[in-house]
């Protein structure tokens, strides 16, 4: 099976500090792949590099093409989308405008606004708040808006950075339910999480990233029961 996204020997450094050191990973089409690991392991840096926000060494191929010369916007236009940890919403614009701008790559197509109704159906809460500015939303709603905006981009591969960060357990469950639902739309997902149990329970395959290197990888179900994982990330078992 050919991978939709494949990174090989990926290096990212901030000045002299190597944040990501020789990471190789693959995301097959239609699957949920997760990268778990402690704070500061380089997870966010890894996603930023895959998205083209940070310069990196090594090769990244997506849909059979080498991404080296592709800028962030080129990657977005090809369906590679990132929901960053900081959400990066348009704070003083309305919820509806935030969503609409997600469809910016398709602005020249007729009816590019139609997708808005799909997103509202998936996130009824956003429909209720469509006139509010994004900065007035609660943490959970902001995450829904970030997800909704990403869906407007018609992603083929959605990269999610800590979607559960700072959210109440009930909302975390809701968010993960939504993420699982995305797979039925044919969206592949690369999920970066500190909440290792929730991530591994919803994923097909998992990688463990520690101090910039992949220390362990395998099918998510196996990792869930791997003693090295349970001891460190699942609070013993």
């Amino acid at each position: 099976m050919t991978a939709l996204l494949r990174a090989e020997g990926l290096h990212v450094s901030y000045g002299r500090v190597d944040a990501v050191r020789g990471v190789s990973l693959a995301v097959e089409a239609g699957r949920i792949v997760t990268v778990i690991g402690p704070n500061g392991a380089g997870k966010t840096t890894l996603l930023a590099a895959l998205m083209g926000l940070l310069p990196s060494r090594g090769t990244v191929t997506y849909d059979g093409a080498d991404l080296a010369r592709f800028e962030v916007e080129d990657r977005v236009e090809r369906g590679l989308c990132l929901v960053p940890e900081a959400r990066e919403l348009f704070g003083d614009m309305s919820v509806a405008d935030n969503l609409l701008l997600g469809a910016y790559p398709f602005r020249r197509e007729r009816g590019f606004r139609a997708k808005l109704d799909d997103v509202y159906a998936r996130f009824p809460r956003l429909a209720e708040r469509r006139g509010q500015t994004a900065s007035t939303l609660s943490g959970g709603e902001r995450q829904m808006l970030a997800l909704g905006r990403a869906l407007m981009m018609r992603p083929r591969l959605l990269m999610l950075d800590e979607p559960s960060l700072g959210l109440a357990p009930l909302i975390v469950r809701e968010i993960f339910r939504i993420i699982m639902g995305l797979r039925e739309l044919g969206v592949s997902i690369l999920l970066v999480e500190q909440n290792a149990r929730a991530a591994l329970e919803s994923a097909d395959y998992g990688y463990v990233l520690e101090t910039g290197e992949i220390s362990l990888h395998g099918p998510a179900a196996e990792l869930l029961h791997d003693p090295r994982v349970t001891a460190t990330y699942l609070g013993g078992a």
Partner: protein, 349 residues
């Protein structure tokens, strides 16, 4: 001072203020989208007035040569960057956007200029000649350093100002130019005589502000510009290219500059170097609004116009001093009113 005099001064102040409003809106627009303080804005206003004056006098305006030269430079910069990225297949499109399109107005103006033209055609030619200058300057001077700190961008702006006002001296000569008034009518409202030119200035200023509002509120391109201003990383993540929104911002700024030039030209004689002060006073207006708010900038610019006209009445040698001196109390007041210190540098990924 009696009421009549005060009204007269106010009328004069509002008329000048209307021009400052246009320029201040442009300055805020460019700053919010690109973080560039576009110092040469006023020079473009002067270019507009001088171009129209030259066309009306039956000469070929300097902008006819200037714009194609800028277009060649801009295309060279774009081509170099495309080749560097290994995207040679995008060269034809780049040639169209940066070379052919900007040079078209100059080509059209070449055979037309030098004869007696109807006023309206002269105005259309002027706007068409000024429009490409903003985006071309952006492509040549700012795009290559788009991620530089605000201070570096400002210094480049200052350099650019000296360069293009020097170029204006070469192309337009040291004499000032003054186009004919667009309309000459006078109205009597009560005891006051109001010139149609004043009303036209006000109307254009209001229309431009309304047009900008529509653009930002209703169109997806306008929303993309706002999005870039609010969150550059977020904008890139939805596929909005900062280069494109920056170019659009400069195109709008050019349009505002051309409009200001057309309106102020017949009222004040402008020469190659007088745009700077117009830009600076509008900048003061924009600062009064905090450099982030369009209504704030518009009010600030009107205030500057009024202040200038009233000070000029008491002592004309102080009119400039007053405008710039007002900056000190305004900045002190703003720093007291603003709860948290404004970050001048956003985190750039």
């Amino acid at each position: 001072m009696n009421l009549d005099l005060a009204l007269l001064l106010a009328q004069d102040g509002i008329a000048n203020g209307a021009i400052y409003v246009l320029v201040a809106l442009g300055i805020v627009l460019v700053f919010l989208v690109t973080r560039i303080i576009f110092v040469p804005f006023g020079d473009l206003v002067a270019y507009g007035a001088l171009t129209l004056a030259a066309i009306q006098e039956g000469q070929r305006p300097g902008t006819i040569w200037l714009v194609p030269m800028l277009a060649v430079l801009a295309f060279a910069v774009e081509a170099a960057s495309l080749l560097h990225k290994g995207a040679a297949h995008r060269l034809p499109r780049a040639a169209l956007v940066w070379l052919v399109l900007p040079a078209l107005p100059a080509l059209a103006a070449w055979p037309l200029a030098g004869r007696e033209l109807p006023d309206l055609l002269g105005i259309v030619l002027t706007v068409a000649l000024i429009l490409p200058i903003g985006p071309l300057l952006y492509r040549i001077a700012y795009r290559p350093i788009a991620d530089a700190p605000v201070l570096v961008l400002l210094i480049v702006s200052v350099v650019l100002h000296f360069a293009i006002s020097g170029v204006a001296l070469v192309f337009f000569g040291p004499e000032g130019g003054r186009p004919r008034p667009l309309i000459r009518a006078m109205f009597e409202i009560g005891d006051m005589i109001v010139s149609a030119q004043t009303l036209l200035m006000l109307a254009c200023s209001a229309l431009a502000a309304f047009g900008l509002w529509l653009f930002f509120e209703r169109s997806i391109a306008g929303k993309a510009l706002r999005a870039t201003a609010v969150n550059r990383v977020g904008a890139r993540l939805v596929g909005i290219r900062p280069g494109v929104t920056g170019g659009t911002a400069f195109l709008l700024a050019s349009a505002l500059a051309a409009l200001s030039g057309l309106l102020i030209g017949p009222v004040t004689t402008l020469s190659y170097d007088s745009g700077f002060v117009i830009g600076l006073k509008s900048f003061v207006g924009a600062i009064i609004g905090g450099l982030v708010s369009y209504p704030g900038a518009a009010l600030g610019a009107l205030f500057v116009g009024l202040l200038e006209s009233f000070t000029a009445f008491y002592d004309s040698s102080f009119k400039e001093v007053a405008v710039f001196a007002i900056l000190v109390p305004v900045l002190v007041l703003r720093s007291l009113v603003t709860a948290k210190p404004a970050d001048d540098e956003e985190d750039e990924l």
